[in-house]
Symmetry: C3
Subunit: 390 residues, 3 copies
């Protein structure tokens, strides 16, 4: 990987090997994913003591559980004995986690409660499930498997007042979709980090959302949106902070095109307004927390995006649609309407990311120069190259 | 692999790389499987001159054939010309083995009989199919592809009198089942070598078979079994000899639970008594010949187990049920009843071995301490680590 | 690969690693395929300006297009921006090639016409699609991705008068078939380069075509064919020139067995005579241009063969049947009759090549001596080993 890094050219795409080699993929999981904060779910998925979810990426699996005291904690889904997955289900309610292999039994906090027939000197206290760091931010759950995770709290504190009116803790998951794509996760993430491709590749998206670079948006349109946002109770402020070490933040609200109150096919509202909002402002907020966790916040729904590695050239694009808690499909929103935009857009993305990987696999791929609109990719490369090493 | 070996901790599971790396898998085939005695079948499969079977493991394939003089021999199923498989069928009767590619033709002993159009100086005698060592033990056929195989004969001589009453040469194969599992072969074998998992994972098995460690079995129960065994004509003796170099032996008879005369669902006999036995004693013998070849011998049937590597994380669990020669399904035994116990147990095993591999794939897998009941795994590690090298 | 090369024995098959290792496969694409002339199609596939085809091998993809001036050119199907495949269809007509990702737009000559939002200093002239060398020879299209391709023109000049009477520029493709085989491309190519296997493996072929080595053909039969060939307007001459550097040539006409006027099931003609031929001579010409491009020329049809790598042990055998332009299936020829011989022969080949790979995968494969009839394989090894290096 040293020689790969030496081939990197500032302002250009990464060389082929970053997207084709097993050793790079292993390093990606070990040095980048296992050391980053990852958005894994929402508190509405585990309201009661004993509720749990698991989240898998690459060869990794993490259990997130609510204990008897109502606290959330996270730990590796790997038995401390001979390594079996402890929890096989992706969600449920448990009294304890009992490994299906040899019945080593762990508390909801990960602590080892019981292991039969162990030799003298065995210390149960040293054999709990390995802890994973966890943060809850307005109901969104983030985990990080590093011993010393990058600082997240300072960033969350900045975002806190901006996010508050959306009432994100008070959401429910309406739908989750998965779009497997035969491509390296970095190509999938890069695709999300630039809208240079939106005009040619996303015709439906481009009907309601500006495909211009944010720097080039018309000042009047921005001012109009700001007025409308304030009118429904939204503070108008942005945070753009790209930095190495996974502490990057992005929070910015954009105007949709005239006639669009939210990210819908017709422009009409899709669901009841979120949080304390009193109506629709025709805007959409791009929120990134770290570089792996992406959210689109409309006045009436939130869409979360993840690009989960499952192999060198296999990625699971996960899209999660969330609406105000209590809203019911068929009564308060229509599921087809709600999911239309980012479903068709994800289908487009699957196709273009796949073709990107096919071309990158060529020995004749020479990484080309990035456009002005691909600054998000530069930020990702800076962070990535600073953290992943052979 | 040197660095992997350095990570091994006495009394603990092996590190992740042993179960995930291609280089280790190649070394496993080359240094362990190709240098071990492997049970490949029973003489009842090739009674007549010209009868043959093939046995495949990893990228290897061996032909076992009975020649015109009635002798069995084994050779590599790899043409000495440009390497084609010579024998495509898994069993049959042949006059000669003629390679389907260029018709190089070999005798039933592997000797090259004919190769057309070869250049001057070509020596047919130097181009027979490569010989593989073969031993027959009470009808069970073992092969070893090493130039100098580990000594097997001394062990077989020890087992000879113990095995004799079962009349193993006089068996017929009732059924063979294959359970492919997406896991490294070592995880499958390790699973077989300990009954620490039997209580939590094998509920059906645990109804009839003790799940205790053999050392902890009640002395009275053992004495009772010994009396019953003698009464039906079985000598009561055990052989436990774990040692490096593939010469390990294990032979021990255990009592089933009260009411169980054999390994059946109801406890009732399944088939006519084997060999010279005069009835059922309610016992089961665990027999291992080397570490790869495992047999369960009840009074009325034998179950053979193999864990055949087919890829880094692909293993074919093969289970072979054998009954007294001449016994007929539907008349002397019921096929569903006969195969029930080890079919359901193998289904359990497939599941737990698969989950074990999933967890072991995690970068967060830290090999944990073995329990008191996992001494069989320690024996396997000793043998394995002494023989497989980079 | 250095150590692999050291294992090569003159006059013997290549060692196992050449057919099993990923590094070798990568080198094969990089050093051999990307530096060889490859037959990719026929001018009848792109008669009009804007017509294009793509040809894929390994991870590579090449676009061949006819521009507004009627000239053919070829270029890499890899966008010069972030590497997407530019052309997704395998054939069609285009005004320009617009990358589906970010709409970088290229002329039919590969020149970059437009790239939006690029930073100052961006030079469009330096970012055209990478050119690929192209030669047209009697309508057959060859490409080579090397910077400096091996000389092809001298060889084509030699073949020119011999090929002329067949009117190869005036063909139409009747049918294309693909036979994927789970084997390394070299085993597929080697299989084509010798007829030592024809007798045992190709019973249908052997009814009409001699399976002897060309050196051993009966002189009278050859003289008879020469007379018949001259009578229908074919010059009788051969070119056999094996040399390193991809400039090898082979062109030789053989007599079919008595009663066979062409490569048909019954011996009867299959289609109208080609070019200026006045009838059928009962012969077949083997033509190789370089070592990768193989043609069988009967008096009434041409069969083209390619063995396209798609993975370490995945090859796509492509067979293309061509007849005189204007000939129509159902009227001038019967499609089933036309394709019968080389369809059944390819099915045989798929099977024997697959079994060859299975045997070669064995650690016990020792490359054996080549027969007298396998001189074509020696020629291939000489060329291959001289060009592929670690």
């Amino acid at each position: 990987m040293g020689s790969l890094t030496a081939q990197v050219r500032e302002g250009h795409a990464l060389p082929r090997g970053f997207y084709t080699e097993h050793d790079v993929y292993n390093a990606d999981i070990r040095d980048y994913w296992n050391a980053s904060w990852i958005w894994v779910g929402h508190i509405s998925q585990l309201p009661e003591p004993g509720d749990f979810i698991t989240f898998d990426y690459g060869p990794e699996s993490v259990i997130i559980a609510r204990d008897r005291d109502g606290n959330l904690s996270a730990f590796q889904n790997v038995c401390r004995h001979r390594g079996s997955r402890v929890c096989i289900e992706s969600a449920g309610n448990a009294r304890v986690f009992s490994c299906p292999y040899h019945a080593w039994t762990y508390e909801l906090t990960g602590k080892l409660r019981r292991a039969r027939e162990m030799p003298e000197g065995f210390d149960p206290a040293a054999h709990g499930l390995l802890p994973v760091h966890l943060r809850e931010f307005h109901g969104m759950i983030f985990v990080c498997a590093a011993n010393t995770p990058p600082d997240l709290d300072a960033g969350l504190a900045k975002l806190d007042p901006l996010v508050a009116p959306f009432g994100l803790a008070d959401l429910t998951i309406a739908h989750t979709a998965r779009y497997p794509v035969p491509a390296n996760w970095k190509l999938a993430l890069e695709n999300y980090m630039e809208c240079y491709h939106c005009a040619p590749a996303h015709l439906d998206f481009a009907r309601s959302h500006s495909i211009k670079d944010p720097h080039d948006l018309n000042a009047d349109l921005i001012a109009d949106l700001a007025a409308r946002s304030r009118a429904i109770g939204l503070p108008v402020e942005e945070v753009v902070q790209y930095c190495a070490g996974s502490a990057s933040l992005f929070f910015k609200r954009y105007p949709l095109f005239e006639g669009y109150q939210t990210g819908s096919r017709t422009g009409a509202p899709l669901a009841p307004p979120l949080g304390t909002l009193t109506g629709h402002d025709g805007g959409a907020t791009d929120m990134q927390i770290g570089l792996l966790n992406n959210f689109l916040i409309y006045a009436d729904h939130v869409v979360g995006y993840r690009f989960v590695p499952t192999g060198v050239q296999e990625t699971r694009i996960e899209v999660v649609w969330m609406v105000r808690a209590g809203a019911e499909a068929g009564r308060d929103y229509d599921m087809g309407d709600l999911t239309w935009l980012w479903h068709v857009t994800s289908m487009d993305d699957e196709r273009i990311i796949r073709h990107n990987q096919e071309g990158v696999n060529s020995h004749h791929f020479h990484p080309g120069p990035l456009s002005e609109m691909e600054w998000g990719i530069r930020a990702f490369y800076d962070d990535y190259l600073g953290r992943v090493s052979p």
